[in-house]
């Protein structure tokens, strides 16, 4: 078939379906990322704790880092229904499958990020009389977040791509939509190229969002967003300094 016969116009004609498919994929990957971050953090802490916990976390992490997304979603959707009689909707099954897989990857990302925060930071917080939990939340976590963030962005892109296998349970996400269009138009090359294009475009957007967050977390914060967010605070600081500078010296 000559190139001219490719109906590239199909992409534009189906833009709404493609958009809807992407939206469904994001509806799975977005919530899954939030839940996977929480569970991943707990897993990372468990793996850094004492033996019984460490073993359990290690086993979990290694199982789910090894399981393909396709298998994971089949287990959740069909397996749980057969074994426990729990029937999930396709969206629920997709989210749970992603959480199972990606919490294990995120656990390792968080573990390395937590270990990358110098020991002295925690010691300084403790030495200042802060409660260990507050030291963790306000000293260690903010620094570990900055270290982990680029990898978390990669995980979200990975999750989005893994939703493509969920057509197997009939989730009407992007790949499923494209397969449907293809089955009536017989234009696989055009449609799957378009499919790749949409995933890549989404990857660029996710990268942009995460880099914006990253910039605002650098010290001093960079970028327009953080500039706007910290402007009020900076003005308050300046007035505080101004007032004290002009005040009578506290000590000679």
């Amino acid at each position: 078939m000559p190139v001219a016969a490719y109906q590239w116009s199909l992409i534009w004609q189906n833009k709404e379906l493609l958009g809807k498919g992407l939206l469904v994929a994001l509806e799975c990957a977005g919530p899954a990322l939030v839940i996977a971050i929480l569970i991943g953090l707990l897993l990372a802490l468990a793996r850094m704790a004492r033996p019984p916990l460490t073993w359990a976390a290690t086993v979990y992490i290694n199982i789910f880092r090894g399981v393909p997304a396709l298998v994971s979603v089949i287990w959740v959707y069909f397996g749980w229904s057969l074994l426990f009689g729990i029937n999930f909707t396709v969206i629920q099954a997709a989210v749970i499958a992603l959480v199972l897989l990606y919490s294990s990857f995120l656990a390792e990302i968080f573990r390395s990020a937590l270990l990358a925060v110098p020991r002295g930071q925690r010691e300084a917080g403790l030495a200042l009389g802060m409660h260990p939990l507050r030291v963790f939340a306000q000293v260690v976590i903010p620094q570990a977040t900055r270290i982990a963030l680029p990898n978390v962005g990669s995980m979200l892109i990975g999750m989005l791509k893994d939703t493509s296998t969920f057509s197997v349970i009939g989730l009407a996400e992007l790949t499923y939509t494209v397969q449907n269009i293809e089955s009536v138009t017989f234009q696989p090359f055009v449609l799957f190229t378009a499919l790749a294009g949409v995933y890549v475009a989404a990857a660029f957007v996710i990268d942009f969002v995460f880099r914006t967050i990253e910039k605002s977390l650098t010290t001093p914060p960079r970028g327009l967003v953080s500039g706007a967010l910290t402007r009020r605070r900076r003005r308050r600081l300046e007035s505080l300094v101004e007032r004290l500078e002009t005040a009578v010296p506290v000590r000679s």
Binding site: G120, A127, L128, H131, P142, Q143, L217, T219
Partner: protein, 293 residues
């Protein structure tokens, strides 16, 4: 050992021994104090603030402290020096339980925090202890994600439960005290090492500790920045703060040290009051002082 030889009252800073007059160690017998400096003056001695007794600590199979005793009185400035690996930092860190001793007793202001005591097993015990004890680290350990002001403000809010504006006021006052108010909005990465250490000292002081620990506070600094940090420490000493300082700055030690401790291989090899650096008798101590000065 040390109860016999007490000397300079708290807060007094020696006017003698300007920097650089380090005498070469001589083999002459320990001279008698020239100006009565080591005369006991029990009336001027403060209450006991820190009492360590029989502290032992091992890392793995290696015991780094073999049963160390140390008493620090109110307003006293204790200087600990000695070679690397002698256990001086570890000893200092047992005072605020950053290192929990394997055995022995840690008493701060008549409350027991050692490994055998009930208070240590009570959750929150170390947290209470650390609210009485400020610490300054060799590597400053400022929080890199916070401004100088917030570095001081965070513990004020988190440990002393002050409100935001009150914490900021106090943090700003603390920065002013070390001459860094203009840098309040700067992040640690934007400050010199000396400035960072001054912020760290201000941070520890802002919590109104009863005792300040300094763990080689100038060892990570460029030589030209050491002076500004020592100046701040000198003013802290003059304010009457109880201090325990681990340092290699022996001229500074001579200046502020009311009680000097030489540690070697996990034990206090020799210790003495003001003037000790010029009068010590232990050959190992003299050898060390000669090598450092």
């Amino acid at each position: 050992m040390r109860t016999l030889l007490r000397d300079t009252p708290p807060g007094r800073v020696a006017s003698r021994a300007p920097a650089g007059d380090a005498p070469a160690p001589t083999m002459s017998p320990a001279p008698s104090p020239p100006d009565g400096e080591s005369r006991p003056s029990p009336a001027l001695r403060g209450d006991v603030v820190v009492q360590l007794s029989g502290i032992t600590k091992s890392f793995g199979t290696r015991e780094v402290l073999h049963g160390v005793d140390l008493t620090v009185h109110r307003g006293e400035h204790v200087v600990i020096f000695g070679p690397s690996g002698s256990g001086k930092s570890t000893l200092l860190r047992t005072i605020n339980l950053l290192e929990v001793p394997d055995a022995g007793s840690v008493r701060i202001l008549d409350v027991e925090y050692g490994p055998g005591s009930a208070s240590d097993r009570r959750r929150g015990g170390p947290v209470e202890l650390r609210r009485l004890v400020g610490m300054v680290f060799q590597q400053f350990n400022l929080f890199p994600h916070l401004t100088a002001l917030d570095n001081i403000g965070l513990p004020l809010r988190a440990a002393m439960h002050l409100g935001r504006s009150e914490a900021e006021e106090r943090a700003a006052a603390a920065l002013k005290r070390v001459g860094l108010l203009r840098w309040a909005g700067h992040y640690p990465a934007q400050l010199s090492g000396g400035q960072q250490q001054r912020v760290a000292i201000a941070r520890a002081l802002s919590l109104d500790p009863k005792i300040m620990l300094f763990d080689e506070p100038t060892s990570a600094l460029d030589p030209e920045l050491v002076g500004e940090v020592l100046a701040v420490m000198r003013s802290v000493a003059q304010s009457g703060m109880t201090m325990v300082v681990v340092t290699h700055e022996l001229n500074f030690a001579r200046e502020i040290g009311d009680f000097n401790v030489f540690m070697d291989e996990g034990l206090i090899a020799e210790s003495g009051p003001r003037g000790f650096l010029d009068r010590c008798t232990n050959p190992r101590t003299r050898q060390f002082i000669a090598a450092v000065l």
